[in-house]
Symmetry: C2
């Protein structure tokens, strides 16, 4: 695998906030990502998966995570949310489908199946790159994310528990087969046959008995404008209770879906991952 190319670096809390580009084997496009490297050799890496419309920049500029990553000696890597620079059917017509909205699945539909391989991109290509380029051991990698990326963190941890030590999420889409965002994305990436959808659905996978050995950590704002129709936190809680998957759900009075909410609680998520890395 070719190394990623460093585009920019900014000293931050003694470490370095960095922006990178590489030629992805999985998406067959150039992909950008950002990192924070602490000033000491990182003892682990948390992959941050962003939400709809985001790029590799949102988390690293807005979440205020660098201070706590430096304190715990952890790196973070933030992939982009989809391939870029393509021109597939419908790819750029909706903010919640196509570019900026990859949903962390390997697509099976025509056109998308050749490039929208975000599961393999994160779980194989980025996972390898973290080891090869940044020197982190394969058993010291975890996942966290927000909204669509919270779905990504939980569902990829359930599908690949051997690859990710722990997973946490802010405002995750926990039951995509049952909400408009998920239904639109899954129809477009996986096709109309709904029986294919459950393999990328956190709540459905947990109902089917899939488990991660570590508890999940979830923070959800109660003023979140998407809670009732899109996020459906209760569905996750009920599935976990039935199946025995441990899940720490913190419902936060007054907080919304924004990065101001993420910034307010990111310290506790990094502390959570530090325990397992």
């Amino acid at each position: 695998m070719e190394s990623a190319r460093l585009l920019k670096t900014h000293k931050t809390f003694e470490g370095q906030t960095q922006f990178w580009e590489h030629d992805s084997i999985q998406t067959k496009t150039k992909m950008k990502f950002s990192t924070f490297m602490p000033s000491v050799k990182p003892r682990g890496c948390v992959i941050w998966l962003s939400g709809l419309t985001c790029t590799d920049e949102n988390f690293i500029t807005k979440a205020g995570a660098q201070k706590y990553l430096q304190q715990h000696g952890l790196m973070v890597l933030c992939p982009d949310t989809s391939p870029r620079g393509l021109n597939l059917p419908q790819e750029h017509e909706h903010w919640d489908f196509g570019s900026g909205a990859g949903f962390y699945v390997d697509a099976t539909t025509s056109g998308y199946q050749d490039h929208y391989r975000m599961e393999s991109y994160v779980c194989n290509e980025v996972h390898s790159l973290i080891q090869e380029q940044f020197g982190v051991a394969q058993d010291k990698i975890s996942l966290m994310g927000h909204s669509m990326g919270g779905h990504g963190a939980l569902v990829l941890a359930l599908r690949h528990p051997e690859k990710f030590q722990s997973a946490s999420a802010f405002s995750p889409i926990v039951h995509p087969s049952e909400c408009p965002w998920g239904q639109k994305a899954f129809a477009g990436y996986l096709g109309a046959d709904k029986s294919q959808w459950c393999s990328y659905d956190t709540t459905e996978l947990i109902k089917l008995g899939k488990k991660h050995p570590r508890p999940f950590l979830v923070d959800q704002g109660l003023q979140d404008e998407f809670l009732d129709k899109q996020l459906l936190t209760d569905h996750l809680e009920q599935a976990c209770e039935k199946s025995g998957q441990k899940c720490l759900i913190h419902r936060r009075e007054g907080y919304d879906h924004s990065y101001y909410f993420i910034a307010s609680f990111i310290e506790s998520h990094i502390r959570f991952h530090a325990e397992y890395l």
Copy 2:
């Protein structure tokens, strides 16, 4: 004075990050600003003045200040960096002059003198609004800023020491009469007669014997790409040493001009202002 209208609110670290709009008497335009209000009644307010090209949004989304403002019970108010929505000669042709580049002066040149009154906007209009709308006492208001806004914080504190308890700056333009950014701005806003420029020049004012009763706090990154040609930190240091103005200058190895630098040291600036508020 009419109250400002609340546009958006986001709970953040128990307090509220808010975005506002009002009809400014000084600029004769609509002006936007952002605030953070702690969850307790604020015991003081720090006005943040942003740099070239910035709006009221940069600091409040990127600096990670809310946590420390909440801890100290302080509010912050971030004005925009110029009037908007006008169409004055040359106003939108350069990123370092006109819109986004008001330089915190009251302009005297044709066209600009009617709207670009950023000194009076900050020192009179915003200063009053902080008292009337947000209930902060008139002797509990301070200034901080970055780059052009660092110049604004220091120069307005020197010109109005009775209005601002303390002033601090990241990467300030300390000697605008002697650097390209300042020369361009002052020529455009104050005219070609350079004898008028020194009254808005921190280094020149200090040389002339102007003082603020409290020490200034300055942080300057040593990898800042603008240090040698635009910022000229040494000039401030020399003027302060000669005149007796106290100034704590921290030169930070490896840090650049970005908000990653600001985020890394904002806690110490808020602690500094909390001592005087």
